[in-house]
Symmetry: C2
């Protein structure tokens, strides 16, 4: 029974056998440039940070387990990228500017190659998003990655789930379905292609989230599928309903090629792991470039799909099952 | 492969089989009163928080695994208390006022009794320390508890490891050794007594940490034992040394009763899991009530013990081994 070996520790003395190399590896792979708000990063009992003046903070934490949230044979660089991506996606859904994250890494053993790959993928996305690793710990145990991320947003401008109103446009920040299709292809042994690429490295939409401040009436990121996540917005906003337009569902032939029409529809509406933003816009607001309007919020509860033939079909929520 | 079921989710629809009760349990056991700085707690993609004006933030994250950081047969209330305590202790070591925490809980199965106990112990300490649970997630897997905690400190007043100077007094916030002794007694089947009590529920010293702002030149919390953690201060402060006074080592006969003198010395100097503050004070500063001065920082590197007979013995660091 030992205390977690946090990044902050000085190297143990030589009399503590066998640990020196492990600490050296940690220092080698997890020391990285940091933003100016970081007064003191890894190296003490906690990080010391200067929050941006007159901003609110957004905080999220997600744990990813091997064989549950990512496959055991996924490249470590993709694991690092993906585990950070799901947290940045939560910041994006709140309209927050990414600032800092802490990493709790549980590893069955310390392998230099694995750590090198993991940290490379992790920092590739961290640098793109401008988010700094400021602390955390490493523990020996079954592979799991727990990341806590913090962002900033001007007071009153955070995007929430509870602001949708009847008549609002329902929008999505890209073409949905690639996440689940990529997972299915991965499980079938495929290791390349656009859907697998999206599954391995979902690109969180923090720029879109920031652009939606003061524009969107509600926002969520798609981790459970369009229907399930839209339902979260409907419930939070007060038992509203929605009607989606089948003809408006965005399609990317290069991704969904080879799927039947029914399969495409299921992927688009019920596929999880997309990590795109799903948001509502008042009727007067223009849909941002790269986003699509799928339908409208309605006062009548329930979800409906207006088919291409004009008939309206009732939808049930059958997204990802949690836990 | 599912996304983590974060606290923020609305209950799934009845069509998602078997999840409703689990989400109800989460809401039942983890919704709790929050401080005024919490604009939006669990219930969205992230928490929305107002940081205290003109303060710096301190952040820490620690993961506790069953059979590694706590015994599998420890009462769930003690697990909840203890996992939060190790994080608050890190805030205390930085002199921070506890504010918020996020909880990533990985559970092999959802048991109402376990969750009820865990949350009771967790919130017992959270209420004492004035820290609010603002988010996190629950995932199915091997039992582990990852907590990220944030505190606040006035700019420039955070306690760090790197400020000790030759001549400073070396102080500790209580009697050391009970943590390791309690663990040993637990492993021998004992379930009661003061040492076991300290092992089950170490009381983090956040009030002492706050009182040491502007007073202590360096501070750390004792997770690895006095010698190992003092060595972290010595290394961070620039290759300094220390001389401890055997006659000054604090003793609590009710805790260490029955141990030989050698065993008491080993527990006092090398026992981990105490979560007391170890700090240095300039010579002019009075030692706070309840704390003890163990010796002095010296310019000569290395650690020495002045024995009761006046002889000075060289000490080696043999604290907890990490990872």
């Amino acid at each position: 029974m030992t205390d977690p070996a946090d990044f902050s520790q000085s190297p143990p003395q030589p009399s503590v056998s066998g640990s020196l190399d492990e600490f050296s590896l940690i220092r080698r792979y997890f020391h990285h440039r940091q933003g100016g708000s970081v007064v003191l990063g890894p190296g003490d009992d906690g990080a010391l940070l200067t929050p941006p003046a007159d901003q609110q903070l957004v905080m999220t934490q997600d744990t990813s387990l091997v064989d549950r949230h990512f496959p055991a044979d996924m490249a470590p660089a993709d694991v690092g990228y993906r585990c950070l991506a799901v947290n940045i996606s939560d910041l994006a859904a709140m309209g927050a500017t990414p600032l800092w994250f802490l990493l709790s890494l549980t590893l069955p053993e310390v392998e230099a190659d694995w750590l090198a790959g993991f940290s490379r993928g992790l920092f590739e996305l961290a640098d793109q998003a401008g988010i700094s690793l400021v602390g955390g710990d490493i523990t020996r145990g079954p592979l799991s990655v727990s990341i806590q991320a913090t962002g900033a947003v001007p007071p009153g401008l955070a995007l929430r789930r509870d602001g949708a109103r009847a008549g609002d446009q329902i929008c999505v920040g890209g073409v949905t379905g690639a996440g689940l299709l990529g997972l299915e292809q991965w499980q079938a042994g495929q290791r390349h292609g656009p859907a697998v690429g999206h599954f391995r490295r979902p690109r969180p939409q923090w720029e879109l989230g920031m652009a939606l401040r003061g524009q969107a009436s509600a926002c969520i990121d798609i981790s459970d599928g369009v229907l399930a996540d839209l339902n979260h917005i409907l419930q939070a906003s007060g038992e509203l309903g929605a009607c989606l337009d089948e003809a408006a569902l965005p399609d990317d032939p290069s991704v969904l090629a080879g799927c039947s029409v029914d399969k495409q529809r299921a992927l688009q509406l019920q596929g999880g792991d997309d990590y795109l933003l799903l948001f509502t816009l008042p009727p007067s607001k223009p849909v941002p470039q790269g986003s699509y309007c799928l339908g409208r919020i309605e006062a009548q509860p329930g979800m409906r799909l207006r088919q291409r033939d004009g008939a309206v079909r009732t939808l049930t929520v059958t997204g990802w099952q949690h836990f």
